[in-house]
Symmetry: C2
Subunit: 404 residues, 2 copies
């Protein structure tokens, strides 16, 4: 096979993660090793930066700078919410031709995989040699085929540490705590809040996922039951929870603002949490009800990274470069779980990932639809990695003197 | 001086912090060294646990358990929002007498210092030997006399890492980001969001503190100015910001729920952030405006602790035990800053701390009242300690081919 000479281009799309820069740096450092790669470019702000020709030259960037960026959360090449259609992709394709780009790596979720898929078909249709690789990332963990997605493990670690902490806070000053977690259609991240549980009565005691319809009546009854038992209750709710008609509960309270993908705005507002808290205050006798919406910290907090996630994100980028440049392949990089716990890497066709959303397996959700199973914990634990230790006081009670 | 024989009692009041357990463990381990201390008790849920005689015996608790609890966020002895008056303190005093408690350590903020103060006066009035020490803690950092408060440094580190991350996120997908930070009357914690700034154009670009009145018109004009310059804007707002009449802006939107201290509920609702975001959307042409309310994670997140804060919290507890038991003194433990940076410990009279709130020095706030000064950063930096590293990509731009 003749070596395909030309430039490599890498870009990032969609919501940032704590480790998406690891993947980009994996692509860049690996691509720079191949003599047929004349330059490695980065597009700023994803596909938007391609059609507007906002490129930076990564060919000679110091590896120390790349390594420092790799450890930084968010998208170092910046991102975009643009979701290219055929016409948009034709523009991308024109730019690729003009710059002699022969290898394109797009790091993103299922929308980014779709862009790769369209671009791949367009290049094949006109016989322009362009290798296209989708490099997976998403804190939602909702991509098909792959065992899990880079970015998920670190976000899972963040929400697990957050709920381990608020659970201790809720012990100290009892009441109901509701934490709203990111995840539009898949509950993986919300489910990960359970990873911080250590003691039998640790919260979150209730976990509501987009995979199961939520009625406010059931929500209220569930909370009452836990509160009666423990005198307190910690609840994790996905921002994407829906009623039985499949309507977003959050959307009813945000005025329905939509982004350019036609998705309702779920993040950057406390409406869902506040509404649920209000509902509980009105319909129970519980006085202290508090709601937090975890917000952007889940995907961008500086200094909370799963080491496993970090290493895998790097590997996925390195593999992407090799699949495209060494092997001449197109596709989406996937991870396969082997043993307990190891990962092997492979490539799947772009159409198997593009635009598709993976939901949580039924085996990961309890019968009542308000908690996760041991199977889910076993799935997610190695991805988040070890959490900081904590302990309750283990001290004997003192017999009362004055009362009784 | 004859050694005062009897029991020691330790308790925690008010909002938890990441290191309040360090102070308790400092008290306990140190108090256990003195032969005149017959037992060390802990009251569960602060003063409420005293009047209800909910004591645990800490005299023989394994030091490994204590050390594990010390590293855990939140209040291991649980907390209370009760704010004792004279009658309440008389009940506490009766319990102290019944249990032969001679040393009382109360770990909390200015309300807890007030409880100590009342109790101290009551014991003196009847000639019952009771040493009372207030062990300072608060993420708000608003206690008088002391240079700073244990608990603040870790919360400062958390918000600095949060804003360093969301600033990178805001670079990737530009718009306006508003983060609402805890701090009812003092802006120290909100100000600490600036500690994560590294590059010239890093956010938070605007910081609004309770020490300066906020008008929505000025807020809007400030954001517009930053947005025009950078194409994006990151804002840190204290939950306690007030209008020019001294009215809480948040309270207008929360229905005015008050706790048992008569304080308006500021935490556990996204109302202030959402309202500010709505106001910007209506009064500017900026489309992407997002608001997060950082909430309980600021004081209870598992795994984000300032080492300096941790060590000082422990020392404050140890010093408290020695002041009371070895030296026979009452008071509130304070920290004095020496050199750059070291701390020496001392005791101040309870009346100097009780019920008083320290606000930020004018030298810490810029002229425009929308940012902090270098003097503040120098004050706060050693308290939060070093933050995780991050870096922007340093790559040359590529000249355009198709456009221009």
């Amino acid at each position: 096979m003749a070596k395909l000479e030309g430039k490599a281009l890498v870009a990032q799309g969609g919501g940032p993660t704590a480790v998406i820069n690891q993947s980009v740096v994996g692509v860049v450092l690996e691509a720079r090793k191949f003599p047929q790669v004349t330059h490695v470019y980065g597009a700023q702000h994803g596909v938007n930066g391609i059609i507007n020709e906002k490129f930076v030259d990564l060919t000679e960037v110091a590896s120390s700078n790349l390594e420092a960026m790799a450890k930084s959360p968010s998208s170092g090449l910046f991102s975009t919410r643009d979701k290219p259609d055929e016409a948009y992709c034709a523009k991308i394709f024109d730019v690729c031709k003009a710059y002699d780009i022969r290898y394109f790596f797009y790091c993103g979720g299922n929308d980014s995989a779709d862009t790769c898929h369209i671009l791949n078909k367009q290049s094949e249709a006109v016989g322009y040699d362009l290798r296209v690789i989708h490099v997976p990332k998403t804190i939602d963990n909702d991509l098909e085929v792959t065992d899990h997605c880079p970015g998920y493990g670190s976000a899972a670690k963040f929400v697990a540490q957050a709920f381990a902490g608020v659970n201790l806070d809720n012990r100290a000053i009892p009441g109901v705590y509701i934490g709203v977690v990111m995840g539009r259609h898949a509950g993986f991240l919300t489910a990960a809040t359970a990873l911080g549980r250590k003691y039998e009565d640790d919260g979150p005691h209730l976990i509501y996922l987009p995979e199961r319809p939520l009625t406010l009546e059931k929500f209220c009854a569930d909370v009452q039951e836990v509160y009666s038992k423990y005198g307190r209750c910690v609840v994790a709710v996905s921002e994407g929870v829906e009623n039985e008609k499949g309507e977003s509960i959050a959307a009813q309270f945000t005025g329905g603002e939509v982004d350019s993908h036609g998705n309702v705005q779920l993040s950057g507002t406390g409406a869902l949490g506040d509404m649920l808290a209000e509902y509980l205050k009105k319909n129970t006798k519980i006085k202290r009800v508090r709601a937090d919406t975890l917000g952007y910290l889940q995907r961008s907090f500086l200094g909370c990274v799963s080491e496993t996630d970090q290493e895998e994100a790097r590997s996925v980028g390195e593999k992407a470069a090799n699949y495209a440049i060494r092997d001449g392949k197109d596709g989406s990089v996937i991870m396969k779980r082997t043993g307990n716990y190891a990962i092997s890497y492979d490539l799947t066709e772009l159409k198997n990932v593009a635009r598709l959303t993976k939901k949580m397996s039924d085996t990961y959700i309890n019968e009542a639809g308000n908690n996760v199973t041991e199977a889910f914990l076993n799935y997610a634990r190695p991805l988040a990695g070890p959490l900081p230790e904590f302990a309750l006081l283990d001290a004997p009670a003192v017999a009362r003197i004055l009362q009784k």
